[in-house]
Symmetry: C2
Subunit: 298 residues, 2 copies
């Protein structure tokens, strides 16, 4: 029986979790190779069973692969594809887990030949821990997994179907968006919140004389609001640079919103403040409720 051959380039939290999910459902029907930056990570990936064989070079990892899964930080993906392209067989499908989509898609669209396919995708899953040791086969379960469907960059339906089938094995909820809408929405509900969480931690750093007292006082509110500030710095630097227009746009909108609050406090406008907090509550409560209808929430 011809096994499906999957190569996961960048076996970290996301790539490792994808490998574990595939192995859990397909077992020996899938042969998974991987690539990591260090020998230690490769050994860990093999030991965990996220891959069958892991390498510290991408070319060895992609030998004979049917499907390539890119799960490195975003700005590493295109250079990696350039590097492996001469070694891919006709009909290879490349998919990725990058948190920004237009940047990668535009560049790959320019360099991929007609017989190598690219399905742009983004699993909305993660943990503030990173690295393959944090990987779990359940990472994507009941989470949103975006597969891009874009008129500007059409992909043959049988190729889309292959990728959908694999991703469905993770038990994620698949949503289709086009490239522009993905990057805009991701900046609103993921990129700007992450940057803001880090900014709140920096606020603490700027008040260094009070750090010890603040650490004692910091309760669940601070910890929840800043949880994602413990995320991987490489990943987030790349996200900022590859979705810069949307992120800057929405950061500036956030500044406007904060300015309005400052004005309301300064002019002691309790009514405005009450509306500010109560509408935020209403919207958020709605989001949680609608998410529960779509997904099982822990």
């Amino acid at each position: 029986m011809i096994k499906l051959k999957l190569a996961i380039l960048g076996v970290g939290l996301i790539g490792g979790s994808f490998g574990l999910a595939m192995k859990a459902k397909l077992g020996s029907e899938i042969y998974i190779t991987g690539s990591t930056r260090t020998k230690e990570s490769s050994e860990c990936a093999e030991k965990m069973g996220a891959v069958d064989k892991s390498y510290t070079d991408n070319i060895s990892a992609v030998k004979d692969a049917d499907i390539i899964y890119l799960s490195t930080p975003v700005l590493q993906m295109v250079p990696i594809v350039r590097q492996i392209l001469p070694h891919l067989k006709k009909g290879t499908i490349i998919t990725d887990a990058g948190s920004t989509k237009q940047y990668i898609a535009n560049k790959l669209h320019a360099i991929l030949p007609q017989d190598i396919y690219y399905v742009s995708a983004h699993p909305m899953a993660g943990r503030e821990k990173s690295g393959v040791s944090a990987a779990t086969k359940e990472l994507f379960k009941n989470r949103c997994y975006v597969i891009i469907k874009d008129r500007e960059m059409p992909v043959p339906e049988k190729v889309m179907e292959k990728v959908r089938t694999l991703i469905a094995l993770t038990e994620a909820n698949i949503t289709e968006l086009d490239l522009v809408q993905h990057d805009r929405c991701a900046s609103i509900i993921s990129h700007v919140p992450h940057i803001t969480a880090s900014a709140l931690v920096w606020l603490l750093n700027r008040n260094y004389e009070d750090i010890e007292a603040c650490i004692k006082l910091a309760g669940g509110g601070f910890k929840d609001t800043t949880r994602v500030a413990s995320s991987n710095a490489d990943m987030w630097s790349d996200i900022c640079l590859s979705n810069s227009v949307e992120i800057i746009n929405n950061l500036q909108t956030l500044q406007d919103i904060i300015n309005d609050v400052i004005t309301a406090i300064d002019s002691k406008d309790r009514e405005k403040l009450y509306d500010y907090f109560s509408l935020a509550k209403k919207t958020r409560d709605r989001i949680i409720k609608e998410s529960k209808n779509i997904y099982e929430i822990e």
Copy 2:
């Protein structure tokens, strides 16, 4: 045996939880009265066992009380004290759970006679739910509970000791701060994060065309970062108005931080972005670690 008589004015999440904690430890050694805005809340408070008897007027609630626990939104506290003052016996101790301290302390200091004591305090505990039905005797357990010790407003040591003893029954970790430091630190680790969480939800509202797609995409990161945006609007409007100087000051510092990020993204300064995210990660990881050493974290 002369029971201790406690009156909880504003039996909501905080007041209700305090009552439940007292009853759990002192049982029939303490007699608790309460006041609520509505008859339904009073009935709920009694049914839950947070109080022995609850009223919809403060004067009935404070009759013969030894200790008064103020747990209404901050701006209601001073008017309530004015209202009940003629009905308090000599030696009554007033303590509060307000999230801002200078505002209340300054005003009470001006109106309280020498034989009525005020111990300013703030439990760093809460949930995004509100109301007495959300109350639990464990709310304060292992959380920080600030008791103010301020040279400008000294309190007799035996009075402080009485309040400390009661608060200790909640199994909270008691920390002492002065008024100014409390308000400054609270603005950094609680007030500004809450305002910012609501601002991130408002960012979603400002992009209303994308709301449906955003709701599908919104994962754990968005939900954690905005969790406290589901908090009570009355409480938070009052906090903003009663700690306005510190809050505006720190919101402006937050805006400076965000401006620096915008500049770094715009000038494609990856190094600056990397430092931004990695230092935030370092600081936050340290806070979590040090908190674990002080408190048991769930």
